[in-house]
Symmetry: C2
């Protein structure tokens, strides 16, 4: 049995700064080599498609004995099979190919571990978060009464925003008393992210009360259907708390008419929530910001930096037109209990976020913005949106392919059609073969009963030539 | 207006591997220097206690123009005022002084950005997460039917576990239909973390239905009071869904009698949730694991690695005795809809976690466990728990101090009493002066109407001599 002093030494030894320095320098070289190889497409294989069981067996361990190697060997082993999000053939879900500077900021954030749920725990983290939130709000067009916070991802962001809506719009003290009747509802685009419907059910309102609004042929929420649904809900004795719009939606990347929906919501005194997790950063592009016209009408907006602002996952802005709403999310209904004249401190983050301890997540957003300036991110949006349009043009002109809908962002859905086979089965089989080749990563989606191949062109290393390589692979696997 | 090609080049340039290599090496040296200085207490000032407004002004920026410097300068500036969690005088909240190896793992996780909500997106991340979950479950004493996932912090973990309880125990399809009556309740320790009561209110059950169970003089949930509350709830027509116990509680670090509460819950067919966010890792210590006797009776356990396993924030295990429960959290009530014979795939993480995109958070836990072995973490628990006991002994023997309660973990509450002043005001004033000195970070808590100074001895660099330095500072500021 070790003495207390020996145990202290044993543990403290793992913090040895010179060991860290040596290992960290080695890991930096490994990561720099990874970036060089991956972005330049020097390796054909860009991920490992082994079965879950095989992957599990590979890493299964009882952790009884320390490994006979150090950090660099462990990381080298991870790098072998990792999914390379920096590879130009990474065309899958809406997860960024992180900027190296953002990863470096995360490294510092991880070591320093300054949380900001309480101001004292991380004054620097609080100052930086406020600075990022201010900027996000200003881009939306919110005035100085706005505010908000960063949180762990868009799903949690949507939940937190809808909790604010519930607090604000329910005509009794629902926080204290609970749901009294199953008649509280939200009107949500039928194309909204699954986390929106989930949030309504989590809050105890019932999945049935996330009432889906049909979309038009471009997968945008239909304004006439919105009005119909609103009237129907009223006739059924429901209390409509709010409307959720997409900017843009997940499946096809289509932007809702925020101006139209916002007007409707404002006129009927409904909470207006915009899920801008993917598409809000188009506000930084002079070419594309018109797609978000009306977003300033929102009561709350969710904006992910880990999608279209090239940071690592996860960091989401939850932004409120009226900052006070952020302070009443987890408390008694303001109108019953709180003194409206009481000042809400922006730096009391634990009162606003669902997390208690929260990572120093503002640093990576701040660092990239500070180093490159906001125009850089607008140029990035311009590039990937335009490349997606160009790809759509090619698809339309190819008689063996069919485009699902004109892309409005950097998400594109299309299918291979030159076949007598069942087309849905064909797309599934093509994608499976592509994944098995381990040379591309693409996904699929179902629209109106048809299955389409789906790409998010989110990696700035992807060029038109890489999309042509994908097209060739699809043609090969379709045979 | 740049051409498309120029924009691509402009963006891709920021991924230049050689620029990254150079800057990352510089940042590594800055961080290694920080560790050396901070752990060795070479700097007296261990955080910056400027006002929120001043901190905000320091970092306020419009991000219009790129900064005229690079990553290293930005990080150097952050390091100046950061709260040094590695400083032996860091004695505040339950946030770890991260192991450098864990920060290095986070660095890789951030750059690689392999999420695992969908298996294909991160096969490696899925394999590693499963390996970590298996180990956590085995330490609890769960058998092979157990399972779970990692999530973004203990608060989200508690919410997710209680959602599973709601799905499992409510006698109607609450997911689809919503809360039908305000009679669904949980019995929760009056000392439980605020996130537990919040979770009950978030779920629409009403804050009033998080029924607090009084604690005994050691701040442990009182079994007789539990039974009384259960009977009273029944008489009032409430449906008791579950019981929440602490291992350990936040304020005083006391462990509930899990064996007793677990038996009670099992006998009455109640969901038994253990909030082990802080104290579950004591299972790794031969000396202290007896404090968690009975934890294997739990239906769900929350276990933070970013508190007592020395990783950076945030990574929390949400562990279920029956893995199937993790798969029904966000879906129709199993008994109504789901085919119980349908196999739930462990690797379908998005069905289980509230997050959609989730960081590669398993890597930092895996890396430290793999490199050091599990016994290392038990030794760490032994060290900080014993040091806290020794400090308590000193406090008890000092006639100018009073201990609130015998510490059962590494959290200690005490107050300075040699004064004719109002003692509550005195503790507040002492703490404020300590914070203003910027030489120590400690917190405070209220117990039975009295305010106590509160320390979490979580940094393995803290030795008895540092606690004596704190005692001297308190005596000085009490004058």
């Amino acid at each position: 049995m070790n003495t207390l002093e020996e145990k202290q030494k044993e543990v403290a030894e793992k913090y040895n700064s010179e060991h860290f320095r040596e290992q960290a320098h080695r890991v930096v070289d490994l990561l720099a080599d990874y970036i060089a190889q991956s972005t330049q497409n020097r390796e054909e294989r860009m991920f490992c498609y082994d079965t879950p069981e095989k992957m599990y067996q590979k890493f299964k361990t009882d952790f009884r004995e320390p490994a006979p190697y150090e950090e660099d060997v462990l990381i080298k082993d991870i790098l072998k099979d990792v999914t390379q999000l920096h590879h130009p053939h990474y065309l899958g879900h809406q997860v960024s190919s992180p900027l190296p500077s953002s990863a470096l900021a995360d490294f510092c954030a991880a070591l320093l571990n300054n949380s900001n749920c309480v101001y004292e725990m991380g004054p620097v983290a609080c100052g930086i978060e406020k600075s990022v939130i201010d900027w996000l709000c200003s881009k939306i067009g919110f005035d100085e009464s706005s505010g908000g916070f960063l949180t762990s991802g868009g799903s949690l962001g949507n939940l937190t925003a809808l909790l604010a809506a519930r607090q604000s719009k329910v005509p009794y003290d629902i926080w204290q008393e609970g749901v009294e009747k199953d008649n509280l509802c939200f009107l949500v685009s039928s194309q909204c992210h699954y986390s929106v419907k989930r949030a309504v059910a989590i809050m105890g309102l019932g999945n049935k009360n996330a009432i889906p609004i049909p979309v038009n042929e471009n997968f945008q929420t239909d304004l006439k259907e919105l009005e119909k649904a609103y009237n129907r809900a009223h006739q059924e004795g429901k209390v409509v708390l709010g409307v959720v719009a997409n900017a843009c939606c997940t499946a096809t990347g289509s932007y809702d008419d925020l101006e139209g929906i916002g007007k409707f919501a404002n006129e009927h005194n409904l909470w207006f929530h915009v899920d801008g997790a993917h598409g809000a950063p188009a506000l930084l592009s002079e070419t594309h910001k018109h797609k978000l016209k009306g977003i300033e009408r929102a009561d709350s907006v969710v904006w992910d930096a880990h999608k279209m602002m090239m940071t690592s996952a996860i960091v989401t802005g939850v932004l409120f037109k009226n900052a006070d709403n952020a302070h009443h999310i987890f408390s008694q209904n303001a109108s019953y209990i709180l003194d409206r004249n009481q000042k809400n401190n922006w730096f009391d983050f634990a009162l606003q976020t669902l997390e208690c301890t929260k990572p120093f997540m503002s640093l990576k957003v701040y660092a990239s913005l500070k180093l490159y300036g906001e125009k850089f991110f607008g140029d990035y949006v311009d590039y990937v949106y335009q490349l997606t349009s160009n790809f759509a043009e090619y698809i339309k002109q190819s008689d063996d392919f069919e485009l699902a809908v004109e892309p409005q962002s950097n998400i594109i859905c299309f299918r291979y059609i030159k076949s007598s086979q069942n087309l849905n089965e064909l797309q599934i089989s093509i994608r499976e073969k592509i994944l098995k080749s381990e040379k591309f990563y693409i996904v699929k989606t179902e629209l109106n009963g048809n299955i389409y191949l789906r790409c998010t062109i989110i990696n700035p290393h992807t060029k038109f030539e890489h999309l042509m390589e994908l097209v060739e692979a699809i043609r090969k696997f379709a045979k």
